[in-house]
């Protein structure tokens, strides 16, 4: 029989790393409703797999693996079937009490636009790269060699450079 995972530890780890889930949902789902479904599905899958988490990996490495896998799988479905579970309440809420300038908000939008235009696996690599993950960690999460990660990141940089120059023009 499966051991019951520790609820409190899980809640604490999710609380500490909630930004990862939000950033992934925002990068893979342009629609707010789909983002809510995806966030719930990610947390559900994390909870379901929590027993299988091996401490020889960093928690965030494991979390990225599962969250990105769920996001890519949902993104690849032509018709959104919604989450396995669905609640009326929102799992994550973003309050508007922070002072962010219009310019910063526009930058956030532009950044998400650039990410949205990338292929599904490239999106994952870019998110990990922007989150300051080492090539070794990106390789472990994605399943590539470090050399291939470096090559891939160079190609993504090239794609982004072209997008930047098109945007300026």
């Amino acid at each position: 029989m499966d051991k019951q995972p520790d609820k409190e530890t899980f809640l604490q780890l999710i609380e500490e790393n909630k930004r990862i889930i939000f950033k992934i949902c925002n990068s893979y789902c342009p629609q707010k409703k789909d983002r809510d479904d995806l966030a719930q599905e990610i947390v559900y899958q994390l909870w379901k797999s929590f027993n299988g988490y091996k401490t020889d990996f960093k928690f965030t490495t494991w979390m990225y693996r599962i969250a990105l896998n769920v996001a890519i799988s949902c993104y690849r479905k032509e018709k959104q079937s919604g989450s396995t579970i669905s609640f009326v309440e929102h799992l994550m809420n973003l309050s508007d009490d922070t002072d962010t300038s219009v310019e910063t908000e526009n930058n956030f939008k532009l950044l998400h636009q650039f990410i949205a235009e990338l292929k599904e696996i490239d999106k994952s690599i870019l998110i990990l790269y922007l989150d300051d993950k080492s090539y070794k960690e990106i390789a472990e999460i994605i399943g590539l060699t470090e050399t291939n990660v470096a090559t891939k990141i160079n190609r993504i940089k090239e794609i982004l450079r072209n997008k930047f120059s098109n945007h300026k023009n």
Binding site: Y44, D131, I142
Partner: protein, 222 residues
């Protein structure tokens, strides 16, 4: 804007989330109380049903073969169909193993490849259709024998059978070639994509393209 700037925007975004992102604890607890449901379970039952069906056909054909072992036309027909259904059976077993191997703790490319191969299982049947073509004569021979104990081989002209056998002999290498070609590894070829899209739809051809991209990525080609 350069990539460096992009990274600093991302970090600013992270800081904003740190301050303003709130988790709904009630919702989180509700998620924890959900019973583990696997989306893959219905697929597993479907594949098991397929495997059972194919094994029943193989057993039936083997029985037919044993009962008609002295007659070459039935032996050849039964062997041809047994080979075809054995491949279908093996494909089903491969899918069940794939389903059993799916583990959320694996890396992204490994899981995505497995999931996409499961989604595009219909492509295995398209490939099998090619292998089925040279066995077209086996069906009437066996069906007439089983249903009416009627031997169509001795009731049709000798020359007609020779012509059919010659045609089948030519078809075998051609169909094996098609069987080997119509895989996700060749989805970049226009005619392979055309066959997949016309028979299984663009969703399956996209899925196959994704699996090829994963393989290429692992080799460092893209």
């Amino acid at each position: 804007m350069e990539l460096r700037e992009l990274k600093s925007i991302w970090q600013a975004y992270d800081t904003k989330l740190e301050k303003s992102l709130k988790l709904n604890l009630h919702c989180l607890e509700m998620i924890q109380s959900q019973k583990a449901k696997s989306k893959l379970k219905p697929l597993l039952w479907l594949r098991i049903a397929e495997v059972i069906l194919h094994s029943m056909v193989v057993i039936f054909l083997a029985d037919f073969l044993v009962n008609n072992i002295s007659m070459i036309q039935y032996v050849l027909s039964a062997v041809a169909l047994i080979m075809f259904f054995a491949i279908a059976f093996a494909n089903g077993i491969k899918q069940i193993i794939l389903l059993k191997e799916i583990d959320n703790n694996e890396d992204i490319l490994t899981i995505q490849k497995k999931l996409t191969l499961l989604q595009s299982h219909i492509a295995d049947y398209i490939r099998l259709t090619f292998l089925c073509i040279p066995t077209y004569l086996a069906y009437p021979i066996i069906v007439f024998k089983v249903l009416g104990n009627f031997d169509i081989v001795s009731n049709l002209s000798h020359n007609w059978w020779i012509a059919q056998l010659a045609f089948t002999t030519i078809l075998i290498p051609v169909c094996i070639w098609f069987y080997n070609q119509v895989t996700y590894r060749n989805i970049h070829k226009k005619w392979v994509r055309y066959i997949i899209e016309k028979s299984a739809g663009t969703r399956i051809s996209k899925a196959m393209e994704f699996v090829k991209d994963i393989d290429d990525m692992k080799k460092g080609n893209i």
